[in-house]
Symmetry: C4
Amino acid sequence: MTKNRLEAFSDGVLAIIITIMVLELRPPHGSSWHELAALTPKFAAYVLSYLYLGIYWNNHHHLMHAVDRVDGAIMWANLHLLFWLSVVPFTTAWVGETATPDLASAPAEPAALYGFTLLMAGMGYYILARTIIAEQLRHSGGTHSRLRDAVGQDTKGIASLALYLAGSALAFVNPWIAYGLFATVAVIWLVPDRRISRRSISD
Amino acid sequence: MTKNRLEAFSDGVLAIIITIMVLELRPPHGSSWHELAALTPKFAAYVLSYLYLGIYWNNHHHLMHAVDRVDGAIMWANLHLLFWLSVVPFTTAWVGETATPDLASAPAEPAALYGFTLLMAGMGYYILARTIIAEQLRHSGGTHSRLRDAVGQDTKGIASLALYLAGSALAFVNPWIAYGLFATVAVIWLVPDRRISRRSISD
Amino acid sequence: MTKNRLEAFSDGVLAIIITIMVLELRPPHGSSWHELAALTPKFAAYVLSYLYLGIYWNNHHHLMHAVDRVDGAIMWANLHLLFWLSVVPFTTAWVGETATPDLASAPAEPAALYGFTLLMAGMGYYILARTIIAEQLRHSGGTHSRLRDAVGQDTKGIASLALYLAGSALAFVNPWIAYGLFATVAVIWLVPDRRISRRSISD
Amino acid sequence: MTKNRLEAFSDGVLAIIITIMVLELRPPHGSSWHELAALTPKFAAYVLSYLYLGIYWNNHHHLMHAVDRVDGAIMWANLHLLFWLSVVPFTTAWVGETATPDLASAPAEPAALYGFTLLMAGMGYYILARTIIAEQLRHSGGTHSRLRDAVGQDTKGIASLALYLAGSALAFVNPWIAYGLFATVAVIWLVPDRRISRRSISD
């Protein structure tokens, strides 16, 4: 029951975050393709953030699959993750408004903040996973954790954190390096995730 | 469990999309009927998009009825469909702001983009159905798919895609041909859908 | 299952409608009580609409309590009710922006439209109840409908429709008569509803 | 069933409230850190309100854990609590817009209203708990209430109300005393709550 309500609340928050980002996509004042094309950076930012939130929803789902009990620490670790994800629409809007189609003039700061938000969300996810594992070990007298067995080394998660950090720093060389790295991380999660999840969910 | 959470998340996203469109309906500055009447195109666009999202929610519901297992491919196909539906409030706002009551001066571009969004959502639905069928065939050793039996030829779905495409093209002749076609497709889905669903859900 | 998803979707839409209305409550530019007091009509409109949506959520809950099966007609009757409720934030915003604290100068049109929206929502509720009863009679061979037994004459529902209509008309005499009537209907539903529901839900 | 739907609706409303607050965080017009830093008060107000809503969601969850039946009085007491929580985004926006980084010039009124909203939400929670206890006593013939046994004296709840009241009054001495007190109450709820909930949920 408790786990169900945690999932339902998280689903609600994630569904709202993923959807309200589209409120940033204000229609152009005119009605020409030219004016619509000026929204390309905002649209691209929306697509990237949509992918990230889809990945988080997907991974959150797998995480909860391996959870048996929910305590207060898990609840707050989950709310901490959702907090950083709730900041994504804000940073997405900043990226979309400042990353003009003119590639040369895109500023570094929004790209760096976007990477920082992804980093904090990634760390929030890591903390949530560790909190669940700690609870499972404590409950089993330190011998067993279903989630630890399922996650293993989690090299992909840790590599992502490093790439977010690298992207935020390299944004000051050129923000498009940062955006390229953030898009790459999204693709990394998208592709093999489908293979893994097919197995784990079918069980 | 997994299927339930996919439905719950989809319901959440669809509920939010269908509701936030009303945020585009800003009350007029004055308080006369005349000023309210200026909102007619926006209101009409809201009604049409509300119908489309209602149809998608209804059809999504039927689709999920025939699903047994959810894997990563189905999850992403579902998120892909939801993505294009999440763009509907944006295109609805563009239509509503540019399709002034003066019929002659309505521009073509918003009508064409509205049709394009419907086309992409329609294709997203088609891809989701095919992904589910592929999973069911794979799981049964290629012999059986509950969804394929239920959907059959899906001539209505394919005809809709053709009409969206035709509407988007004909928008450049006259956008009201496009809006007429899009409204017609909505009515086509509304009417017989009631007959079919009564049977399939009562089972 | 189908009924659960209808409830979940309706809950989602109602939760969003009841919450996004608060987005109309924009904080004043200054920070004095005087400037805050200028928001009184908006706040009062929010409270009234919140009460109405709470009543609808409550009644919808009771309605669904007496439902066994959901078919396409019930789905669309439900979406029709939700449509008119989704218009409430718009009419609430119009009322809140035009009903200045200066009582004498409040315009009639927003009050009349607010009443019209309540009337349409009330009729939507009535149609939904009739659609459910028709399905139950059809399914039982015309002999039995749990909902018809539970609802009885529904004099309160029909009286409410008459009061919405009267309020909309009397708004052109004085809008405050209309607002008084709409508030009265809300109180009527609030008070005895608690008594009835205590019995019906405890069963 | 009824309890589940009350939880689902409350989760939906709380998820929306906690998420739409981020819509107040509008990206700065420029792209420099300096312009971003100007949002610090808004961000801090968002963090504080996020914590409060997380605490309420957490506590609401515990409250419902001890509920067996839901009647109309509990439904309306719950809607009353949600009403005051729905006002939090509004007061948060007022705080965030007026509490400029220049500490000396922050006005008292928004701080006092923020405290008043917390006070009303706290009283709403108290009323909801009392309503549930009354229903449980009535149902058991006055002898037993699971919630009363679980809550005990609820000194923390009553102390919080006193601190909200003190904060609202002391805002007129200096608003930062008020904000300090409100942050302190949040921390008080955060810290021991984790210990208690770990026990109660693991059961």
